[in-house]
């Protein structure tokens, strides 16, 4: 967010927007920035209508209440922004559509990409804010080669995996004040600042399916659509069972296949067009390569050529060495692993690291054994 029209970002404003979910992390984020003397505006994003249960998700009325009381305590102007439509279109519809297509979506990545670091960042600018701060465990730093996104210092909490989609030119306008802290330190700070959210439980579920497991949510949401039953087959085409719809299957899944076989069977892949679920033995889950598409790059406009990187295929999984080769479209890369990787699902994010630095990432489209 470079110096713009003085009318739009008045010189005298050192204003920043802090996204507040009502949880302890964003509460401490606001408290730290306030203590540094910034002019702050707090915004809670209202992302969906009254949720089924309100105790374990963000942006429920209870969480908005918590966010409001923290903002009041810190004497920060507080607003609730209505993003129900944007969230439904960009996150929930995408989430369901991916399941319809037999893929495994990552709604948190979609929410960060489109809601937090697109829509809310635009709102930040519209409010005359120079930067947007959130309570993510990740770091943004300016180095000799420009701005970089880095893992959070707390390796157990690091959330950089979900953040690879931030537009590169937005990095200078983003602050993660918790990036250098560990979760216990954040809780201590919450107590020191007397924040009412200090002892609040962690939210672990996908926020908008709070109160039920996500497969029940998907089933309920897709219940009105015509079921597309199909076959469960081995790789050689042998039909070993039947199913009510591909949305109930994800790569690597073993339970709930309803197939009796002489060896344990796992979902190897899903072919939504033919309504086929392909199953096979465990060792067939191993892949050597994949293609990631719709990549976003943070450390460069695009990779200069083939690159040795570490790839992370799931939140909290260990990064593994791989060679990435950019394809001609500029948006896709081929990823070849040093060692085979197990149960990699199309739809999930492949995020590329060099040490702590997030180089970029993309969406897994095709995997190869």
């Amino acid at each position: 967010m470079s110096a713009a029209d003085p009318l739009l970002t008045p010189e005298h404003l050192d204003r920043g927007v802090v996204a507040m979910s009502g949880g302890v992390d964003s509460s401490v984020t606001a408290a730290l920035l306030k203590a540094q003397g910034h002019e702050l505006v707090a915004i809670s994003m209202r992302l969906y209508e009254a949720p089924p249960r309100s105790d374990r998700s963000c942006c429920s009325p209870d969480d908005l209440f918590d966010a409001r009381s923290v903002a009041t305590r810190l004497d920060i102007p507080f607003y609730v922004a209505n993003y129900v439509d944007a969230f439904r279109e960009r996150v929930i519809d995408y989430f369901l559509d991916e399941y319809r297509r037999g893929r495994t979506p990552n709604p948190c990545v979609a929410c960060n990409n489109h809601l937090k670091f697109e829509v809310l960042l635009a709102r930040t600018r519209a409010l005359g804010g120079r930067w947007l701060a959130t309570g993510h465990y990740a770091r943004v730093e300016e180095g000799p080669e420009g701005w970089r996104l880095l893992r959070g210092a707390d390796t157990r909490k690091d959330q950089s995996y979900f953040l690879f989609g931030i537009p590169r030119d937005a990095l200078p306008a983003i602050r993660f004040p918790l990036g250098h802290l560990t979760k216990p330190e954040v809780r201590d700070l919450a107590e020191q600042h007397g924040l009412p959210t200090a002892a609040k439980a962690e939210s672990q579920e996908i926020c908008f399916v709070s109160g039920e497991d996500y497969s029940a949510f998907v089933k309920r949401k897709l219940a009105d659509e015509a079921p597309r039953p199909g076959t469960i087959e081995l790789e050689d085409g042998t039909v070993v069972g039947h199913h009510d719809g591909v949305h109930a299957f994800t790569v690597g899944q073993r339970r709930g296949l309803g197939v009796a076989w002489h060896e344990p069977l796992f979902v190897l892949g899903v072919d939504p067009r033919a309504a086929r679920v392909i199953v096979g033995p465990l060792q067939h889950l191993d892949i050597r390569a994949l293609r990631a598409e719709r990549c976003n790059w943070l450390s460069f406009e695009r990779p200069p050529g083939p690159l040795e990187v570490e790839v992370q295929l799931r939140y909290r999984s260990r990064p593994v060495p791989a060679l990435i080769t950019p394809l001609e479209d500029g948006q896709s890369v081929e990823v070849e692993f040093k060692e085979p990787q197990r149960a990699v699902a199309p739809g999930q994010a492949a995020v590329f690291y060099r040490g702590d630095e997030v180089l970029g990432g993309g969406t897994i489209e095709i995997t190869r054994r």
Binding site: Y79, V80, L127
Partner: protein
């Protein structure tokens, strides 16, 4: 804190000094229960009855017609239930689609239970059909009662209920009007209007929050919402909120005439605000009919602007206004009133309401006009 410019008097108005003083005295001195037989109770009762006299006098009603409630929302609910009770099954209740939610929601609930409701649309300027046309439609659709506001809270549109009552004479239609926004801005007389029920709220006219009244023609038997209390002649149960009622009485006596005297000045300031907005070339569109608008209200739609962002920006610039309707979580939904004008939802989000009060100054209008261009320009960035 910077000097704030309060242009949200249709949401609530500051307490009038006369109401404050009357309430302070009541809080300290009138501890008795008005229902008690002893003299402590009698003093409280006397204060309540004095307030009733003041409200009745200010609004051209007789003493026994005034029923104190917790506010206009309760008065509206009580009115709707009363209309429903007064009608045989089959006859319809009519209401405009721009009524306050405290009229719309109970009517929808009754509709779901089988009561026929005739919903009246408004034109793009927020106007209802002419009184004669409405009367003809009521006759045609067997409408036995109607609830129509005297002035709209969001766009300030005023409706000529006296003319409608005249057109309906002899037709046997019970009329309720929600006069919450009209009182203190335009002259309101229950007797002169010829309606049978009239709702009002204390805090829009300089009284306290948490008190209001329903003025009711004795020919209608009210359908009490709260059972188990004999207060207000059995029409509204619960121990009287004595200090608030006293405050409402004082506001009726002092604040209403003052505000009415200030109304022409208010209209001049409101017009200057609108002229300034137009002169600034802010791609603004005024909503509602300027020829029949409350003197204090200016509803404006800014092209390409998200009202939620504009509201936040104005607040950060020290200016309090409203936009749309706040949901329970505190975020904004497009206003049902603006949508009823035929404005597409995405444009309806660009609507904000400026509502002035008797103490709004020229300097505040100037300061608002100074700050608006930057704030509107900035608010156009958001998605």
């Amino acid at each position: 804190m910077q000097h704030r410019i309060y242009l949200d008097h249709n949401a609530t108005a500051p307490l009038h000094l006369a109401a404050l003083e009357a309430m302070q005295a009541a809080l300290v001195e009138l501890h008795g229960n008005p229902s008690s037989i002893h003299r402590d109770g009698q003093r409280a009762r006397a204060a309540v009855e004095e307030a009733r006299r003041e409200v009745a006098r200010a609004l051209g009603a007789s003493l026994t017609e005034v029923v104190f409630t917790s506010g206009a929302s309760e008065a509206n609910n009580l009115a709707v239930q009363t209309l429903h009770r007064a009608l045989p099954p089959g006859r319809a209740i009519a209401a405009s689609v721009v009524e306050h939610p405290s009229v719309l929601a109970p009517l929808r609930a009754l509709e779901a239970q089988g009561r026929r409701v005739v919903w009246l649309d408004v034109d793009p300027l927020g106007r209802l059909p002419a009184p004669d046309a409405l009367a003809a439609r009521f006759a045609h659709e067997d409408v036995g009662a109607a609830s129509l506001m005297l002035a709209n809270n969001e766009i300030g549109a005023c409706y000529d209920l006296a003319a409608l009552a005249g057109a309906l004479s002899g037709q046997g239609v019970w009329l309720h009007t929600d006069a919450t926004q009209a009182i203190g801005r335009i002259p309101v007389s229950f007797g002169a209007l010829g309606v049978h029920l009239l709702s009002l709220s204390g805090h829009k006219l300089g009284g306290p929050k948490g008190v209001g009244a329903l003025i009711a023609d004795p020919a209608l038997t009210l359908a009490p919402l709260l059972l188990g209390g004999h207060q207000e002649r059995g029409r509204r149960g619960g121990t009287e909120n004595v200090p608030a009622i006293v405050g409402l009485g004082a506001a009726a006596r002092v604040a209403i005439p003052e505000a009415l005297a200030a109304a022409p000045h208010l209209a001049a300031r409101r017009d200057r605000l609108w002229a300034g907005i137009q002169a600034a070339g802010l791609d603004a569109c005024r909503q509602g009919d300027p020829a029949a608008c409350l003197p204090n209200t200016l509803s404006v739609r800014f092209g390409g602007v998200d009202g939620e962002t504009l509201l936040m920006n104005l607040d950060l610039a020290g200016i309090s206004v409203s936009a749309g309707a706040a949901c329970s979580a505190g975020s904004l939904e497009p206003s049902h009133v603006v949508l009823a004008l035929g404005v597409p939802p995405e444009q309806a989000r660009g609507a904000v309401r400026f509502s002035l009060g008797p103490r709004t100054t020229d300097a505040e209008i100037d300061a608002t006009l100074d700050r608006l261009p930057a704030v509107v320009a900035r608010s156009r960035i958001a998605s």
